[in-house]
Structure formats: C-alpha cells, structure tokens
C-alpha cells in the first residue's frame, strides 16, 4: 500500500506526522514495515522525541554547525555557500532563494525512515515520533508512505 501526505508550506521546522502515519497503518492492518519518504532535498524525515526544549537544542546545534552565512576563511571572503553563488549557475533564475545551508543541514537527518508495524500498529517505542524536518521553510511538501508486508 502507498499513501501520500500533502503538507502545506510552513515556517515550522518540526512537524509531527505520527498520527497521520498511524492512521494509515491502522487502515492497512497488516504487519511489516512502513517507509516514510520525503521527495525533497531540503526537507527530511527523522524519528525524535516530541519535546520542545530538545527541538530548540537541535535548532541551536544546526545554527552552530551549519550557520546560514559562513565565516570568512582564508582567501574566501565571500560568506555565502557556493551553492548560493546564483550568478554562476545556469540552472536557476536570479530569484532563487538562499538555501545552501539547508542542503548541508540535511546531512544530519534522513531522506526516509523505516518503522516496524504490527497488525496495523506502529512499533515506535514510548518516546519516538515521526517528524518532517523542514530545512527550507515556505514550500509545500509531499511525503510518500509505502507499506511492506513481512
């Protein structure tokens, strides 16, 4: 079984989609695995505890590890990521938004996560929830959920 979750554009970094995936699993009713997949390069899937201060810690961690503007270093006085040197690229128009940092931040998350399912129930453990991690806010997103029987 395959189902799509359509998400409207948002400024929220973290969207908890556990309930939506859980309802699909319930409808499916079988045992196996579900793969929750983001079609987008700057929007990831990750299993996290839904605790506000922890989510703030992640935000600060990303800001420190992969700041939006890089610090000047050596010969490179330009503090943009190279991906954001739009004037060099032929594949995008000049209005292309700055999102080089969003792409690098995706290295800390995943394109998809697998979750075990038992007779229509997600086996997530007590603290784990399924999150869409939005690294480049303001775009509609599509998440593909694929159920596989074991």
């Amino acid at each position: 079984m395959r189902e799509i979750i359509q998400l409207t554009a948002t400024d929220k970094i973290f969207r908890n989609i556990t309930d939506e995936v859980g309802k699909m699993a319930d409808k499916w009713g079988k045992s196996g695995l579900v793969n929750v997949f983001s079609k987008h390069t700057t929007c990831c899937i990750f299993l996290l505890e839904d605790e506000l201060l922890h989510k703030a810690d992640i935000r600060f961690f990303l800001d420190k590890m992969v700041p939006k503007w890089k610090e000047p270093e050596g010969d490179q006085k330009n503090i943009k990521y190279l991906h954001d040197l739009i004037s060099l690229r032929n594949d995008v128009c000049v209005e292309e938004p700055i999102n080089g940092h969003s792409h690098i931040r995706s290295l800390f998350f995943n394109s998809s996560e697998m979750v075990p399912v038992s007779e229509g129930t997600l086996l997530l453990g007590e603290w784990k929830d399924i999150f869409v991690v939005e690294l480049d806010p303001g775009r509609p997103r599509e998440i593909i959920c694929t159920f596989i029987e074991s």
Copy 2:
C-alpha cells in the same frame, strides 16, 4: 518474520549484534532485507567496522562535536542543553537524568539500518558489522528485527 533482541543495561557505547541478527537470518533462510530498529531515542543502530581505535575516534568526535556540557555563549551562561532544564518541564520528574547531549548525538547515527539477506546469509561485506550505539548508558533496550522477502 519479526524477532526482538532484549539487551540488558550497559555502560558500553558499542554493542556488536551481528551474530544475533545473523542467527535470525539463518533461521529465516530466505532472501530479502532485514530492518534492525531501535525503539529508543538515545540508542541507535549503525553499521561500523569493529575496530577498537576507530570506536575511540568516534567517541572523541562526539565529545568534541556534542560535549555533555555546552560552552557558555553570548547571553546563555547556563551550560546545560535546554532539554536538561528539568525545572521547566512538566513531563518529567526532578530525578530525570541529564541526557540532552545524548539526544543531539543521535543525529550522527540512525534509528534503524537495512541489511540485504541472501538465502539466510547477511550480505554485509568484509568490514561492516551491525552495532547498537548506546548514547545514554544504564538502560535496558529492545531492538526489533523485521525480515522482508524480496
């Protein structure tokens, strides 16, 4: 086929469970994939070479990237992760252990790994082993192994 690996609480960061998963695959005897999944937010799964000095390198890397106590920075003289400001949280009791860093360290590992299986044999390659990475020592853990036929 689904099987659970019950792990007793430990202080070891890395537990090699390749043999346990390999025995399950042998019992299963079919071809496809196995998903090895941790139900816990501060206990991950990762495929690594089982080499002691490499595991020490990972430990030092984590200590550097995500130290247990953060360095004071700007207005924030409190060196705890926000998740560890227990007095602000209603969802846990005051004895809640300090593990904000464990949560952030989980960004470097995975909730689960997939491993190909051929007629009951794990196709791991010469140097890859399946590890449980314990980021918050001293807790019993449950690992769910789900086998899917190809």
Copy 3:
C-alpha cells in the same frame, strides 16, 4: 529482485547512479521500494541534488568537520586519528592507508537508502538523485540493489 552495481576504483567523491538504479527498476516493473546498499565502511549512499557547487560545499564542510589530520589538543600531540596508529594494530599490515577520517566522515551519510518505486519508476522527486559517496578513493566498490514489492 537483487542486482549488483560494480564500480571501478575512482578519485571522484560523488557518483550519480540514478540511471543505473532506474534501469533496474524499469526491468523489475513492479511497485514497492528499492534498497541501495554499500558493502563498504568508507563508501556511502546518499540522496542529493546533483549540483556542482553544492557538492563543493559538502566537500568543504567535511574538510572542516573531519579534517584528514586532527589538530593537536591537550596531551595528544599526535595528529593522527587513533585508527591510523597502524603500529598498534595487529589486524592490518604496515602499508594500510591512512583513512581514519574517512571512517568518521561516514557518520554524515548512510550505508543504504530506500527509494519508493511505482510500476518500475523511481519516485525521487524533482531534485533528488542517488549518489555513491566515496570517502576513501581508489578502491573498487559493490553496491547491492534489492527490490521489495509493496
């Protein structure tokens, strides 16, 4: 269905194998998921946008986060990763190449990725491609693709 992609040794960090996997999916013709798995500890799989400047950003990010030679720190004047202290290890010969940093860099990528497939077509989204990320150049590699019906 299982298929192997044989890769010759290369100095390229990023190899786009989307076309090869796409042809396999087309031959398979069914719907479900494909798991693209690297058997190697210093060669990963990751879904990325195939944009040259972004790939350069990743290279600079890795060089900064996990440099080939560590900076001296505290008592440790030796700037090798511990994994590269070959004279201490009994499991390798003296000619073992320096690749401690390659192992640590693998924490930013994955051993395998799952991609949804619909009637033989990869559902990757507009910007996502399947890459082999070579962290220790100059070695032949094997990538295992396993197709699972949903």
